[in-house]
Amino acid sequence: MAKINTNSNVYTIVYATILVIIVAVLLAVVNAALKPRQDANVALDQKKQILASLNERNLGDQLSEETYQKLVSEETFDSLTYYVAQTEDGTKFILPVYGAGLWGGIWGYIALNDDKNTIYGTYFDHSSETPGLGGEIKTEAFQNQFIGKHVLNANGEFVGLGIMKAGQTADGMEQVDAISGATITSKGVETMIITSIQAYANKGFFAKTSSEISEAIETSETSETSETIKVEEE
């Protein structure tokens, strides 16, 4: 067979066309074949993330599935999705949050106690933040900072939390430490929490009936006393 001129116009066009068709078909076939498995993985991962916000981490696939089925149910509040978990420590409300980091999307789940104020646990994740910098929002060390913080102010209004660099104080809300070297991602988390949960606040998620208000006052007085006792014991 005579050697084909690989630089001729016809050859170039035919080659490019065939290459594109082969790659497109290959990618389409592989994606279609793998999609069911991938979707199952994604669904399981979301359940693991919700469990992580309940401080149940590293459970493995089967145990995660079982624990999720046992504890968590999905609810809607005026067209907004949230999750309710019945744990040993009481009822928890889990709100999904979405936002923008430096390079891409960030998201997470905030688990609140049944007072809809104190944070029980959090989980944050990202798609393209830099590993070691913005990527640190995925670590337990960053997420555990939020435990015990309050998202409502003294008047019961939703204010969120500040994520502050060393030496700075948040105005009118509680705060946690930002990640050094990752200011934009840290501020992105702060904005994400405030904006996402504000949507729930605007629809009345945090509104209290008058009996809930007096119950809350009683509970906070008792818990303050027990906290003082704990400190002295240590």
Binding site: T6, T130, G181
Partner: protein, 210 residues
Amino acid sequence: MALSEKTREAFLGPLNKNNPVVVQILGICSALAVTVQLKPALVMGIAVTIIVALSNVVISALRNTIPSRIRIIVQLVVVAALVTLVSAFLKAFAYDVSVALSVYIGLIITNCILMGRLEAYAMSNGPLDSFLDGLGNGFGYMWVLVVVAFVRELFGSGTLMGFRIIPNSWYVANGGVYENCGMMVMPAMALILVGCVIWAHRSLNKEEEK
């Protein structure tokens, strides 16, 4: 199996005398980005090594058929298709790994080392030599990343691979006199460190200079 001189050189060259980062000055961007900690640096190094080696083989096998005018585009298509396939398989069969790696995928495709080796080596050499060249360049890239990340994580955070090395009690906040070197977390310091590695490398390889 005795490897020819050329084949051995394809693998050993990039580890030292023809190192992609230190001599060819390729792949600097990711060398600065992922070396804040040791673990991401290792993951990135391994990922780049695999992709460079595999795409080198594919392009080398196709090299006599690729029209010269569109060769860069064809190389890009092959690399992008390869990375997409690898990541699709990982997402289906090893989901945790795929999530951890998804952040690096964008960084791998744009790594200059990839296009550099495909154009400079795979287009003119056989598949076995190209595969070894890819492995060599990947490992050469990886050791530079590991050195820079080692220094940056140790002096920037006091940890290595996440394990605390510098005791907590040494820190000023806990009554000691030590503070982490904040500059280590910044990319500027990474560039200075890469410069230091180049300096050390050139001094040790003086006889190569003309």
